[in-house]
């Protein structure tokens, strides 16, 4: 019997689930094989890790809620013998009456009404930002505004587009090898170009009329890696990147919290040509409560994504 690297035997061996003969064989093999000994040690460590995990407890009132639901179900009124059949008969009569009235009405072609389809409320996808460095706003990072300049900007303006007003444009540039002063026209064009380049940047502070939470539609592995990295960095975790088949799927990342508003995805609906993300807006109850930056859903690939707020 070959025991070398036989993980099925090792697993059962650790649980004492082998017959005596096989157990002896495994034990003897482990005495002489360092590699297999190492594997068994690792399996044992993983088992210990799992068995010593904290027990996750439900919120208070969990059991009481279950019992209350059970009580509601058991308090249904069961009609005595004659009453039950009377109610069935009454239901049948109502159905017959409705059918009779319906059939009596002359058939007419329903009027065709055209309704205007509202404009979709989804935002376009945009580039995924890299993990945020501390002390520098995302917009400032994109605009390459240095931390020295950032120190001079009032706090209330740091997270908004106003930070762009502090963008230092080059005073001189090289033209055909010679240093020349940059004209005012060129300076304006430079700023405008930078503004346009980050115009799609998703920040609720920029767009106060925003009706949807900031979101990203991820359609390739590179962006997927970036958003996952943001999730890990923000929460000080190092979880492995899950595999997504971007040939048939895409990821939707929705901001969990912005400007004291918590966004919660309630439902994802897949339609023929679009994905509908139904979400709720809730007030942030605990300001210092840790949260993950994005809620991520993997869905089938569709051209459009629509966001619908539900109450």
């Amino acid at each position: 019997m070959n025991y070398h690297k036989n993980k099925e035997f090792f697993s059962a061996y650790l649980d004492g689930m082998l017959d005596k003969k096989t157990e002896e064989g495994v034990k003897k093999h482990l005495e002489s094989c360092l590699e297999c000994n190492k594997i068994v040690g690792e399996i044992r460590k993983v088992g210990k890790l799992l068995s010593t995990l904290e027990k996750i407890k439900p919120a208070p009132g969990f059991e009481a809620e279950i019992l209350s639901k059970i009580e509601k179900r058991t308090s249904k009124v069961i009609l005595p013998f004659p009453g039950r059949y009377l109610s069935y008969a009454a239901s049948g009569l109502i159905v017959l009456l409705v059918a009779f009235l319906f059939l009596k009405r002359p058939f007419t072609q329903p009027e065709l009404r055209l309704t205007k389809v509202p404009e979709p409320t989804y935002k376009k996808s945009r580039e995924i930002p890299l993990p945020i460095s501390s002390g520098v706003s995302e917009i400032a990072e994109e605009a390459a505004i240095s931390s020295k300049v950032m120190a001079k900007i009032p706090d209330e303006e740091k997270e908004t587009e106003k930070v762009m007003d502090y963008l230092i444009v080059p005073a001189e540039e090289k033209v055909r090898g010679k240093r020349e002063v940059v004209s005012d026209e060129k300076k304006l064009a430079f700023t405008a170009k930078r503004r346009k380049a980050i115009a799609g940047y998703s920040r609720a502070a920029l767009d106060t009329s925003s009706v949807v939470p900031s979101n990203f539609i991820i359609r390739n592995n590179e962006d997927w890696g970036k958003i996952w990295n943001v999730q890990n960095v923000k929460q000080n975790l190092s979880l492995p990147l899950p595999e997504v088949d971007f040939k048939r799927q895409m990821a939707i990342a929705v901001s969990s919290q912005e400007n004291n508003v918590e966004y919660k995805i309630i439902k994802i609906e897949e339609k023929k040509d679009k994905i509908v993300v139904k979400y709720q807006e809730l007030p942030v109850e605990e300001k210092d409560k840790p949260f993950s930056p994005y809620q991520i859903e993997i869905v089938n690939n569709k051209e459009k994504v629509e966001f619908q707020k539900v109450d």
Binding site: S11, L50, K57, F62
Partner: protein, 185 residues
């Protein structure tokens, strides 16, 4: 019995006792399976509601937790089937709030408490990356400590199947956790 919803008072009282005794255990299992606090609550509630509905059929031949675990597994599998179209990565629930974990041991330093939370989150993350069948068997054996025989009864499969599935699941998890094993002692 004409109506499954009508029970004798003593049976109802027995079930109430079971909810208080096993409720937290079932919630913990549901959480480790789905990785999400809200979903775990729904699964656990549905488990007890179904268990109560069919309680008149429970003859006591197996332990009550076998009966409950089986229902939990079925409810969870049904929820997976419903979510088949899209996977959810409830990152936030990987860091359950303080109220969901045992109150911190006052003898532990804040660093140790944080270390335990991080360990729980990291391991849960890797659990979520396993296939559902692998995750289920790891939860039942390595987290809940059920015997092979109990697991075979819960999953309604042979002992040999439990052995091979468990070995496979442990191997997959071992490979994923390998870079972190030294740190997570």
């Amino acid at each position: 019995m004409k109506n499954g919803l009508q029970f004798s008072t003593s049976r109802q009282q027995s079930f109430e006792k079971i909810v208080w005794q096993e409720g937290k255990k079932i919630y913990n299992v549901a959480y480790r399976l789905c990785g999400n606090a809200d979903e775990a609550k729904d699964i656990a509630q549905e488990t007890f509601l179904r268990a109560f509905k069919n309680f008149h059929r429970f003859e006591g031949r197996s332990h009550i937790y076998t009966y409950l675990y089986r229902i939990t597994c079925n409810v969870w599998k049904n929820s997976l089937r419903r979510k088949k179209r899209h996977r959810v990565f409830p990152f936030s629930s990987l860091n359950p709030e303080g109220k969901e974990i045992d109150p911190p041991d006052p003898s532990l330093s804040p660093d140790k408490v944080l270390e335990r939370k991080e360990k729980s989150s990291l391991v849960q993350g890797y659990l979520q990356s396993l296939l559902p069948s692998e995750r289920l068997i790891i939860v039942l054996r390595d987290i809940e400590g059920r015997s092979y025989k109990e697991i075979a009864r819960i999953l309604k499969c042979r002992l040999g199947t439990v052995k091979s599935r468990l070995a496979h699941a442990r191997e997959n998890l071992r490979i994923k956790l390998l870079p972190h094993l030294e740190r997570l002692k």
